[in-house]
Symmetry: C2
Subunit: 199 residues, 2 copies
């Protein structure tokens, strides 16, 4: 028996992802998800009032899953800022590549949803750039980093843009190409040289 009391927004979003996985982006309406959960649509409507709201929430959750682990790296102490930036950028690439590789069809479905919800994408990018800015700030405070641009947030955006081939889904088709690891590590070296104070 489904217990409506236990029906959290998170549970609905999990099921929405299942509906997306099995039926694609054209489905995943409030009705579809209610049916899959075995509850009335009124129950789902208590959490998400429209199809657009539901789809936006599931897209936000999907992006969040990738960036959640990254914030832990930002907050950790005990390593130099260059090591931390390198580790953070590698973790971002690994997370995006995993998502693209393990279920390419679901990835494509979410790609479509990203197009519908550009505001959600902007927020996600803003969050990631904010995390880079924090790492740069820590490095500047430790005397390890310099800002390539006078504005710290524009500097962080430059680091984000310069590594786009290794996290922007537009490049996903090349992420399992041979030589991609070497290319990524060379860009990391270039970016790190750019932000590191010469010794």
């Amino acid at each position: 028996m489904t217990k409506p009391a236990a029906l959290t927004a998170e549970r609905i979003l999990q099921e929405t992802e299942e509906v997306l996985r099995t039926h694609g982006a054209s489905r995943a309406t409030v009705m579809d998800v209610a049916r899959a959960l075995g509850v009335s649509h009124g129950t789902v409507y208590r959490h998400f009032r429209t199809k657009a709201e539901l789809r936006e929430a599931v897209t936000r959750r999907w992006l969040k899953n990738a960036s959640g682990a990254l914030v832990l790296i930002v907050q950790e102490g005990g390593e130099s800022a260059p090591d931390k930036l390198r580790r953070w950028l590698s973790a971002l690439f690994a997370a995006k590549r995993r998502k693209a590789g393990e279920d390419p069809q679901l990835f494509a479905t979410y790609e479509g949803l990203l197009g519908e919800h550009s505001q959600v994408v902007e927020e996600h990018i803003g969050e990631l750039v904010g995390q880079i800015e924090e790492i740069l700030e820590q490095g500047v405070a430790r005397g390890e980093f310099r800002y390539p641009h006078p504005d710290p947030s524009i500097s962080a955006r430059a680091v984000f843009d310069a590594t786009a081939p290794f996290h922007d889904p537009k490049h996903a088709a090349g992420w399992h190409r041979s030589g991609i690891e070497t290319e990524f590590s060379a860009v990391l070296d270039l970016v790190l040289l750019g932000v590191t104070v010469p010794s």
Copy 2:
């Protein structure tokens, strides 16, 4: 009267681009182009034996138009290597952006052709990375540049990859966004800091 003697490969490719512009990628067969030129298809076949060959040649020509002016920058003397690299990358962005902006439909058509002829795209990228490598080499010889990676060609590829949001057609939708100039110039600053020998 059309004079068959004057029908060069270049003239056929110009007309092929016109056919692509007005009819899209589904047309532009040898027959279509012969008709547009008012010649027999046998005349065109003397230059291009198949539709695939014709389409590959027009794609190569289109990419070449963008990179032809860039090689002149590489060969010029009289400026520092950092200035030259900055100018070359700016010219690349300007050329790609102009192509995307002045005729978006033709750009989209060529995008489709690029997908059909990945070998041509690889050659084009190889040529551009080769030009970057030459500028880096000049800079290293002048004591202005260092290679971020021990291998000069991998270093050049890193510069190419790090500036992808400003030349890779996958990013074309964002090239007229406000703030793009600032973002580009911040990435240039970052890349230049990465390859420049600290003073």
